[in-house]
Amino acid sequence: MSRIFLIRNEAIAIASICILSGFFALTIGASWFNNIPSLLRDVSWLGIVVIGQALVIMSGEFDLSVGSVYAFVSMVFVLLLNEAIPPGLSLLLSLGLAAAIGYLTGLLTWRLKLPSLLVTLGFLFFYRGMVEWVTDGFPVTIDDEIRSSVFITLLGGKTLGLHNSIMICALLVAVFTVMLSKFRFGNHLYAVGGDTDVALATGVPAGAIKTWVFVICSGLAGFAGIITAASLSSVSTTTATAMELESIAAVVIGGCLLLGGSGTVWGALLGVVTLLLLKHGLIILGVNIFAYQVCLGVVLVGLVALKGVVSELELYR
């Protein structure tokens, strides 16, 4: 039993979720349970982004630009809607833009062999700057008459009191989990992340895989932004400013190796749950919200350090 606990990388996230939800349920009580729907909503928004970030990290790269892409694509979506372009077409166009953004990142990282950390750092600035430039620093809002259209309510509305984004996120996690474990794409992804040279030598199209992963990551970040915009009806210049850090933290807590080649999508989602449980719980308890940042940092470093120590102990057994 303890061996399984040590072997599965997701164990840390699962244990943290049990402890945190037990603790908050006991200390806060009813209002914590009432908060669960909005907790799930936030989990689904960040979760969709984190799926992409997890794939990128598994392939041995980083994407620091997710927060800026999220804001930029959702801004484009809102502006397209306000130009009276049908919601379906706006969605397709903005998703296409997100995919193109990812393709460009993939191209620069793979073709020119530039480190993805720096390329995406550049794009973090670039797309955030585009948002500020286009909006002049003011929020953009979906026009009233468009808000009630079928597409917008489908993306941003609720069914049985739960946001539709929760279903969408669950579906995406399922799709990518199956894709990673049962399909060739997943196999290739782990191979490329584990050792790119070996993967290339055995005929895995490493360049195509890495480019695809960036396309998926930016696409999902943009999609999450669109869903958020559909739900909140507005995008501001500071939307999702610390998302790159939060998403990487979630992926790491969820058990992905930062060096690539290992990890699961559902583990990363559990990482998101851990982070947001902590955040919402602290907010309801009335703890200074900035204490969340301190906790986040300590949890992040602590968990990874713990993992390092545990694997050392395994070696000495």
């Binding site: 620069l108 020119l112 750092l121 430039w133 204490a291 940042q293 940092g297 470093v301």
Partner: protein
Amino acid sequence: MSFWRTALARPETSVVIGTILVVLFFTISTGGAWLSTLPSVFRVTAQVGLIAIGQAFLMSSGEIDLSVGSTFAVAGLVAIWAMDILTLGVAPAFLVALAASSLIGLVMGVFTVYFKVPSMIVTLGALFVLRGIAYISTQGFSLSIPREFRKDPLVLLAKAKTFDLNNTFIVLLVATVILAIVLSRTRFGSHVLAVGGDASAALANGISPAATKIKAFMVCSAFAGLSGILVLFQEGSVYSTSGIKLELEAIAAAVIGGCTLRGGSGSIWGPVLGVFVLSSLKGGLMMLGAPTSWYIGLVGALLIGFLIVSQVISASTQPTA
């Protein structure tokens, strides 16, 4: 041809060309008026530059520090705390804050080296923790130097100018020279480069990668702290948001200045030019009447442009095997 070969192979080549282009562009397009803003450009350069040289030093050892912006704020807060609560003088408070920043570097280094946590994650965690501390201790507002210390000679010295140049800029120049000599001419510098190039080869040659990296972390955090303290002396207060995003600017400047994430090679004066290019753009664009919102996008475009150019240059100077 061999001169050009050598010049092109230097990591700083693209930033030197970039600096010349920026200076020419702004001087010509504003009809020389831009040159009179140079002192304020230097003032901004000093603030970010001190952080960038520390970052460049650490990157030479193959690690990265995302927490410098938060260390910058916390160092200022520690200095205020030492003056206000411990009722120390300005000079001891300065030293206490500098020691506190080095301690931050020490802790991060220990986590990176002994607990095998990648430096990206450790320093990302430290970014959150230290920023949270800054928010909590300022209650989300700001803290200022206690009134009785505001006329202290050391504080006035940091505010003063020599020959129309901010003293902080002179500090940056001196620090750049010292750190450049340390990196290229001393044993410690050679160890840093050796560890950054190949840690296991360094270990095989009797250099301790652990000790070297921890020291490099301490240097980086100490410089971030130094910048924070000097800016505190200049401006009189630390805000809860002081230094936010500075880590990104410092890393961008270091990369523009010729540092790589791979470690093993590095430049100290290149990043200073990188900061100069970035801060000239900030002021120059405003003078040309461009909206300030262009700046952040341009930093991104520049960073990627420099990456591509230096990659192309290094590919063309490499002997084709």
